[in-house]
Symmetry: C2
Subunit: 148 residues, 2 copies
DNA sequence: TTATGTGCAAACTCTTTGCATTACC
DNA sequence: GGTAATGCAAAGAGTTTGCACATAA
């Protein structure tokens, strides 16, 4: 089952309150854009989306809000080679990514065995694993066909 | 057994020749810096190292050479979250990385099972895997002790 | 000789920061 | 009313590009 936007909004309110900070509609709007997107968005893309709701928002606010939201764990970022950072809403489920080198499509996946194996590898090196990022690059189904 | 620098140098000469390009000492010097380093270096760090050998080299040359060397497969880059791209000599063996969030140490590792598992996952999604990058973030042995 | 590679500086892109103003508590 | 957050513009950091000159083939 998928969470409603209000649940994320409430979580944001909680965080803001617990830190003695002030609530702002801008942060909420940015969160909403990420909620409504099923893709990973760059700061610039997020900025353009939010402007549709709130034309007077500034790019700096987007950057500041994204750092804030990421620090608070509401949002995750993934960084592709040269293309820079992209953001997605943290929907509570960890996953990794396959990235098509031809069309840029991103396939998210989660594999239990993969998670366990990483823990095992970390342990072998006496490394305390906190998080990880796995990006698999190649060709998606459509682009494989296209190639032939 | 570990390859001598001349082997990398010869490979560079081969590539340059086969493409009808011209050999330059700058590219060789940059390759040498990477050969002598056991760490991942940023373009800036590489620039500073090369300047010790060749004080008149320009930063732009370093960037151009790194792109070239990476395209030709002599060098690999890995991109950490915000810290940008770092480069290492491609010593022929694929590996992944564990990055200590406390001291920044990078542990390289290779795990056969992990490679196989990724192939399996890719196949399940009809994805043609070409390459991948796995970064595991956490605490290295020393920093785990320090924490207690 | 001729085209590639280089060094320098300027241009560009992406991100952060300072500051006056706005808006939440 | 006091302080955090915003919007704007300017500053920074990192990287790329244009151009004249140097250099390998």
């Amino acid at each position: 089952m998928t969470k409603s936007f209000d649940e994320y909004k409430d979580r944001l309110k909680e965080i803001v309150k617990s830190k003695g900070l002030k609530y702002s509609t801008q942060r909420e709007e940015i969160l909403k854009v990420l909620y409504n997107s099923n893709k990973h968005l760059s700061p610039e893309e997020i900025y353009n989306e939010v402007k549709k709701i709130n034309p007077s928002i500034g790019l700096a606010t987007v950057y500041r809000a994204l750092s804030f939201l990421e620090n608070e764990g509401l949002v995750n970022s993934i960084s592709f080679g040269a293309e820079g950072k992209k953001y997605e809403l943290n929907r509570g489920s960890h996953h990794d990514h396959m990235i098509c080198l031809n069309c840029g499509k991103i396939i998210e996946f989660y594999d239990e065995e993969l998670e366990r194996l990483q823990e095992k590898i970390a342990k072998k090196h006496r490394f305390k694993l906190i998080t990880h990022e796995l990006n698999m690059y190649g060709l998606c189904e459509d682009c494989t066909k296209e190639e032939s």
